[in-house]
Amino acid sequence: MHDVYNFVSGPLVWVAFIVFIAGSLYRVISLIMLVNKKEKFIFDYMSFKYSLRSIIRWSIPFATVNWRKHPVLTVVTFAFHICLIVAPLFILAHSVLIDESWNISWWSFSDTIGDIMTVIVIAGSIFFLIRRVVLPEVKFVTSASDYVILAIVAAPFITGFIAYHQWFAYPNMMIFHIISGEIMLMAIPFTRLRHMLLSPFTRAYMGSEFGGVRHSKDW
């Protein structure tokens, strides 16, 4: 048991981060190289101003027509994504790990806040799951992989929540938590979770076309 724990919390962490970072770089760089090879004209149309205008607009809740059309989803998706990214970075237990490993005193927030954020991510995942099953327009375009990525994202938060509260099977749960977190990281460049990497580019391009050529708003 201890060996497994040491392995997943030691070498495997490194593997996960390397796969995540290298995979992400590969995704982004290969995309830009593909533009360079096949659709060079895109560089000419890219506008820093309009890219930023579009990205910022869509990063503000209720700032776009479609966010306003879906108020519940908007609140959920912003809360979900913010907690999803922020919680793992600043949860007290993670902060302690960082401190212990590298002697860096990392910022952190209280256990309660971490707990709430975790619940928000889990609740968000359930919301997306229900949406996927219930709404015909979402169901129609759903494939198995959509459930898989949802599970990949929810798993580290569910296991972390159970482990933190030490409800049952604590040592195993810790191992599951670490492994599922590593899987999530590694999955980002290789599943549709790569929207995190690619969406700034699609947004920027559409923003540039709408702002610079079409003289129109893309929100």
Partner: protein, 448 residues
């Protein structure tokens, strides 16, 4: 009034598709799909397909989806699922039957209006994906008959309507003579080298709506514009090849148009009230030829009228009294940002302008654009049923008092005419030019 879409799935007879499909083999389909995707597409298609999170948030952007009782088959991403995703997943190994459905989707269930690009949180351009599908369809030779016929006309005559080389100057002369009965000094200057403006139109104008050329000539004459029209092919700014995925032909057409303007040494091209032609000269065709922006400045009629009215070059004698509402054509509003200028013109020439909603860049498409109306009669009812939301929108504008509908675009004009008729909305449809011609001062005119 709106029946569920399912009932409507009866098979349409379209020789362009049926005959073409009968000739296909799975091998040819596979080869064509893969070669288009591999050779002609790049980062855009890849990023769009890989980034899409399957959230369905683009659905409510689409008038087809909204009009067909929120049937997911008509949602933007639903159309991609039924076409491009499947082609990619099966690596091109799809059946002729599959391709038949793909033709229906890409050619008659999407207007390439790009409204969905404004609703997708990632800005995924589904219209672009549909044009890739149309490109594949073109290469397989299964484009719907009617629109393919217009493309053939383009290829043979350099205009969309089989207008012969001598019919064109004849028509202009005829309209000049007609207009001279009203303003004796009026000319339609042909081939005038060094004029400020070359005026270009789409081929349906000389073919069916020659009075539009008459009206434009009167406006030009009264405003004292130094203008000309070419007497040679290259006068037609329309472009169905852009919609059939025949990019090579699109390039030939636009080259001939721009080169005609260059030969006449004009400063700019002013075009009539057409949306798709604007897309072709301003966005698509110029790019195919390697021009980031049009090589010769393009001024759409809306902008041209705006400039004339603002500078006082045409004056309004009596504003149009009937309350109007204004349709924002996708290609010049979402595609060219002319919405405020259109409103300036509308207010300058009409007593009362009643807004319909949603409007400006969030307008609903007319459901005729993107080449859909050009696929002809077999799809007319689908097009009308596919835009019930527009009918509802027009009804509301009518309830608010609007009796005339201004649509500064030919496609919108015809598409909305069908909608207004079918849903018995009872509105007159007019171009800006119709109203300006009626309302303007004509100092040189015979009865003043």
């Amino acid at each position: 009034m709106s029946e569920p879409a399912k009932k409507e799935q009866e098979k349409v007879v379209d020789q362009g598709i049926d005959v073409g499909i009968a000739r296909l083999t799975e091998d040819k389909i596979k080869h064509t799909i893969n070669s288009v995707i591999k050779v002609e597409t790049g980062a855009r298609l890849k990023a769009y397909v890989e980034t899409c999170i399957h959230c369905g948030l683009c659905s409510e952007a689409c008038h087809y989806y909204l009009s067909q009782g929120n049937d997911p088959k008509f949602s933007p991403v639903g159309k991609v699922k039924q076409t491009m995703w499947e082609m990619l997943k099966k690596k091109g190994k799809v059946s002729p039957e599959f391709m038949r459905r793909a033709v229906e989707i890409a050619h008659t269930e999407c207007n390439l209006c790009k409204r969905c690009a404004q609703y997708c949180p990632f800005g995924i351009d589904i219209a672009y994906i549909m044009t890739v599908v149309r490109r594949i369809i073109h290469k397989l030779g299964i484009t719907p008959l009617y629109i393919q016929d217009t493309a053939h006309s383009h290829s043979v005559t350099m205009n969309q309507m089989w207008v012969k080389d001598d019919e064109w100057p004849d028509t202009l002369q005829w309209q000049e003579e007609e207009a001279q009965a009203e303003i004796p000094t009026l000319r339609i200057p042909l081939e005038k080298e060094g004029a400020d403006i070359m005026y270009s139109v789409i081929a349906p104008e000389p073919k069916f709506q020659a009075q539009l050329i008459y009206q434009a000539a009167v406006i030009m004459d009264v405003a004292g514009v130094n203008w000309t029209m070419p007497a040679t092919p290259g006068w037609d700014n329309s472009d169905m090849a852009m919609f059939t995925g025949d990019n090579e032909l699109m390039g030939r057409l636009k080259r001939s148009h721009f080169e005609t303007a260059a030969r006449l040494k004009v400063k700019k091209i002013v075009m009539g009230e057409c949306g798709h032609a604007f897309r072709s000269v301003y966005d698509m065709g110029n790019r195919w030829l390697g021009w980031k922006m049009p090589p010769i400045p393009i001024v759409h009629a809306i902008e041209f009228y705006y400039e004339l009215l603002k500078a006082g070059k045409i004056k309004i004698a009596k504003k149009y009294a009937t309350p109007v509402t204004l349709h924002d054509p996708c290609n010049v509003v979402r595609g060219g940002g002319l919405e405020e200028k259109a409103r300036y013109v509308a207010h300058a020439i009409c007593e009362e302008v009643i807004e319909m909603h949603p409007n400006r860049e969030h307008n609903y498409c007319c459901c005729a654009g993107g080449g859909v109306i050009n696929c002809g009669p077999p799809y007319k009812m689908k097009r009308i049923k596919g835009n019930k939301v527009k009918a509802d929108q027009l009804f509301r504008a009518k309830t608010d008092g609007a009796e005339t509908l201004i649509t500064p675009c030919h496609n919108c004009h015809s598409g909305l005419h069908d909608i207004v008729t079918h849903y018995e909305i009872g509105m007159d449809i007019k171009f800006f030019g119709d109203i300006i011609y009626e309302a303007m001062e004509k100092p040189g005119a015979i009865d003043g």
